[in-house]
C-alpha cells in the first residue's frame, strides 16, 4: 500500500519532512479522520456558540445574539439556591459510588472469564451478562420499579420469603444510591468486560509458560501477569470515566426519582432538566449546565495529571 510506504519509520539522521509534505503524503489517513473531525465540529463545537445564553436573558424571539447580557446573574442565583450543596453532594457521591463499585467489577469479571477454559460455558455466561446492556433505560427503570414494588415486586417477595424485612428501595433516600448503582452494575458489568478481554488476549503466552515452570499458581499468574498487562487499559478507562463523572446518567435518575427520595436523588443534571425543559428557564439551566461541565473538565485534567505523574499512561 502506498500509505505504508510513505509512512515508513523515520531514520534519525533523515531530515524531517515539512508538516505540509507529511500531511499531503498521508492524505488517505487524514481522509479517514475527516468524518470524525466533522462530527465533532458540527455536533460538539458549533453548538458551543449557544453557551453565551448562560450570560444572557435568552428570549427565543430575539434570538441568541439579540438577547440582553446579564453577566453572572444566573450563576449567582444557582450558587445561592437552597439546593446548591445538596445537588453538588448528590452528584459527586452518586458518581464516585458508581465508580467505586462499577469500575473494578468488569475488570474482575474479565479476569475470571479469561480463566474459564470450557468454550460453551464461557460463551453462555458472557452472553447472559451482556444481555441487560441492550435493554433501553426507560424499560430498565420500569423493570426496577416493578421488581421493587413493595406490594408485588419479585425481589421484595424474595427478600420477605427469606424472613427479612425488605427496605423501601424506591422511596427511602438512604437506599436510592445503592439501588441506582447496583442496577447499573447489573446492566453494564458484562458489557464492560469486552475491552478488558480484548486487552487480555494480548498477554504473551510465553510469560505464562515461564511462570508455570517456576511453579506459580493460577491466582499468582493472574495477579502478576494478566493484571499488569491490562493496567494501561485500566488507567485510560479510569481517566475517561473521570471525564464523565458529573455527567451521571440522568435519564435513569429522573425515571426513578420521586418526592420521597429526592433528597438523595436530585443531581445537577435533573435540576437542569427541571429548570430548562419543564420551567423553560433556558438561560438559568444553561448556566447550571455550564458550571457542571467546567467542574468536569477540571476533574479530567487533574486525574490525567496524576496519572501522568504516577504512571506512563495518560490521555495527553
Amino acid at each position: 500500500m502506498k500509505a505504508s510506504k510513505t509512512s515508513a519509520p523515520e531514520l534519525p539522521n533523515m531530515k524531517k519532512p515539512s508538516r505540509r509534505a507529511q500531511i499531503l503524503g498521508n492524505w488517505e489517513l487524514y481522509l479517514f479522520m475527516l468524518p470524525a473531525v466533522l462530527y465533532f465540529l458540527i455536533f460538539h463545537y458549533a453548538p458551543m456558540y449557544g453557551i453565551q445564553i448562560a450570560f444572557k436573558n435568552f428570549v427565543p424571539s430575539k434570538g441568541i445574539l439579540g438577547s440582553p447580557w446579564v453577566g453572572f446573574d444566573h450563576f449567582e442565583r444557582f450558587f445561592n439556591s437552597y439546593y446548591f450543596w445538596d445537588l453538588i453532594w448528590n452528584t459527586f457521591s452518586i458518581s464516585f459510588y458508581e465508580l467505586a463499585i462499577g469500575f473494578p467489577l468488569p475488570i474482575i469479571l474479565a479476569l475470571a472469564f479469561n480463566e474459564v477454559r470450557n468454550g460453551k460455558f464461557k460463551k453462555t455466561v458472557q452472553t447472559v451478562t451482556y444481555a441487560p446492556h441492550f435493554i433501553s433505560i426507560v424499560v430498565m427503570a420500569g423493570m426496577i420499579i416493578t421488581f421493587l414494588s413493595p406490594s408485588s415486586g419479585i425481589i421484595i417477595m424474595f427478600i420477605n420469603a427469606l424472613g427479612l424485612d425488605a427496605p423501601q428501595f424506591l422511596t427511602d433516600p438512604a437506599w436510592f444510591k445503592t439501588m441506582y448503582v447496583l442496577s447499573g452494575v447489573w446492566q453494564s458489568t458484562g458489557w464492560g468486560t469486552i475491552i478488558y478481554l480484548a486487552a487480555l488476549s494480548g498477554v504473551d503466552p510465553q510469560l505464562h509458560e515461564a511462570a508455570i515452570v517456576d511453579g506459580a499458581s493460577r491466582f499468582k499468574r493472574m495477579l502478576h501477569i494478566n493484571l499488569p498487562t491490562i493496567l494501561p487499559t485500566i488507567t485510560i478507562m479510569l481517566i475517561l470515566n473521570m471525564g464523565n463523572i458529573l455527567g451521571v446518567g440522568y435519564e435513569k435518575i429522573l425515571l426513578l426519582q420521586n418526592s420521597l427520595n429526592l433528597e438523595s436523588s436530585d443531581v445537577i443534571a435533573t435540576y437542569v432538566y427541571r429548570a430548562g425543559l419543564v420551567d423553560a428557564q433556558y438561560s438559568f439551566s444553561t448556566a447550571v449546565g455550564l458550571f457542571n461541565s467546567v467542574i468536569n473538565v477540571i476533574l479530567l485534567i487533574t486525574v490525567n495529571w496524576i496519572a501522568r505523574r504516577t504512571s506512563e499512561n495518560s490521555l495527553w
Binding site: 481522509l31 458540527i42 434570538g63 437552597y82 420499579i145 418526592s259 429526592l262 427541571r274 419543564v278 428557564q281
Partner: protein, 535 residues
Amino acid sequence: MNIRSKAWKLLMVGGLGASLLAGCGSSEEAASKDESVTVSKDGFPIVEKPIKLTMMAPDTGVQNWEDMVVLQETAKLTNISFEYKNAPKESFETKKNLVFASEDYPDVFYAAGLTPSEQLKYGEQGVLIPLEDLIEEYAPNFKALLEEYPDVRKSITAPDGHIYSLPVIEFNQHWYRNPLWYNGSYLEALGVDKLPETTEDLYDLLKRFKDEDPNGNGKADEIPVSSVTTPAANIRDIRTWMLGAFGMYEEELFVDDNDVVHYTPVEEGYKQYLAYMNRLWAEDLLDHESFSQTAEQKQAKGEGNQLGLFSAWHAYQLLGTEASDKDPMFLPVHAEGVEKAAIAKNGGVKTGAFAITKTNKYPEASMRWADYLYSYEGSVLFNKGPEGTLWEYTNEADHTKKAIPAPDGKDSEEIRSTLTPNYGIPAPTILTDEVNKGLTTDFDKWVENETQTKLLDNGARVPFPSLFLTIEEQSEINSLNSDLSTYVKQMEAKFITGAESIDSGWDGYVATLKKMGSDRIAEINQGAYDRWKSN
C-alpha cells in the same frame, strides 16, 4: 492525486459550511401572507383550492390523527387539511417549551393548554398573533358566542387588550379534578348506608375497610385509599379533596371569600392536612406506594378489588366493572372546627386551547376553520363523532339524538377516542346541552345528580381565577418557584410519611419557605388578582 485531494477538501469544507449555515439561518420573519387564496366569509368550503397547514397538538396515543374520521371529514368540508405534529400528552409541556424556544413553530396550536403567561409572553413577542380582528371578520359563530357570554371575552382577553387564544367552553362540566369514589361493594359488605361527613368519620370508615375484609377474600389485602404521584404534584388526585376538609384549596394559590390571596403550603390548614395524612399513612390506611407507583399499578389494584376510596373519572373504569350507580361519589368531608369543606369547581372557560402563530400563511382561513368548532354542527362532530357511528338523529329539527350501541360489546367511549381528537385533551370547543340532547344515559344523569348534590350544593367555587401576570411578574415567580415548588413537594412527602416530624419540623419549614420567597409569590398574585377584580 493532489488534484483529487483538493477536490475532496473543497467538497468537505463546502458541506461543513452549508450545514453550519443551515444551523444558524433558521430564524424566520413573520410569514408573508399568501394572498392568492380567497377565504369565503361564510359557507363551505372555506377556501377554493385545498391548502395544508401544520398543527401541533397533544396525543393520547389511541389513534393516528391522520386516520381520525372527524378530522378527515372536516378537511373535506373546509378544504383545509393539516400535517399533525403530535407529542404524547404526558410530555406535551416539554415539547411545547422546546417548540417555542426553537422557533420552529406550527401554523396552529390545538388543545395546547397555553397558560395565560405563555399567551402573554409569546403574544408580546409576536409569536402568537392577536385574534380579535380575525374573530370580528372570520368567526361568526365564535363572535355570536362572545356577544352572548361577555364573561368569556373578559377571561380570554390579555391585559394588553389582545386575544391570543380561543378557549374550551364547558359550562356543564363542573369538575376541577376527577372526583373520589367509594368502592360500592365495600360499603355494601360493611352495611354502610351513610357516607362520612367529617374527617373522623372518614378515618373510622377507612379503618373498617382495612380491618373487616370488605372484599371477602379472607385476606387483609384491602388498601383503604390509594393515590399516584406525578411530576407535577404529590398525590394530587386525592389531596384536592383531603386539603378541602381543612378549608384549603388544593392549588398553591387560592383566594378566600374576602379577596385575600393565600399561598397554601404555609397555611395552618395545610399543616392539619399533613397531620391527618400522616395519621392515615402511619396506620397503613393510605397506600404506601402512593409516592412511587404508576397509574397502571393503581389500576391493577382497582381491578383486583383492593381499593376502597380512589380518584377516577368514573369509578367503574378503575374497578373494571360496568357503569353503575352502586359506587357513590365522595362527599367532601370537613375537619372539626372547619365549618365547611373547600370544594374546587371548574370555571367552565379554559383559555389557551387554540392559537395561530406568526408563520401561518393563512390566518383568516385558520380562524374560520377554528370557528367551525364552535358551531353546533362542528361541536357535535368533534365531540360525538359523525352521525351514524355512535349516534343518530331521532328528530333532526330539534337536535334530539339517540345513541347507537357500540359493536361487539365494546365501550363506546373507547370507539369515540379513535374517531375524534377531542378525547382527554383541552380541545377548542363549546359543549352545550343541545349537543348532548337525547344522548345522556341514566348513568350520566346519576353522575350529574351526584355532582349537583355533593359538590355544587355544598358551595363549590373556582379557587383562583385564571388571570394574566405581566412578563416581569411571571419571570420573578418562575425563578422563585423553581426551588420553592421542589421544596414544598419534598417536604410534603416527608411530613406525610413521617420522615420528618410535623410537630418539630413545621416551624423550620415555614421559615425556609418564607426565606425562599413564598410571601412574594402571594404578594405578586394578590396584585394581579386585584387588577383582575377591578376590571
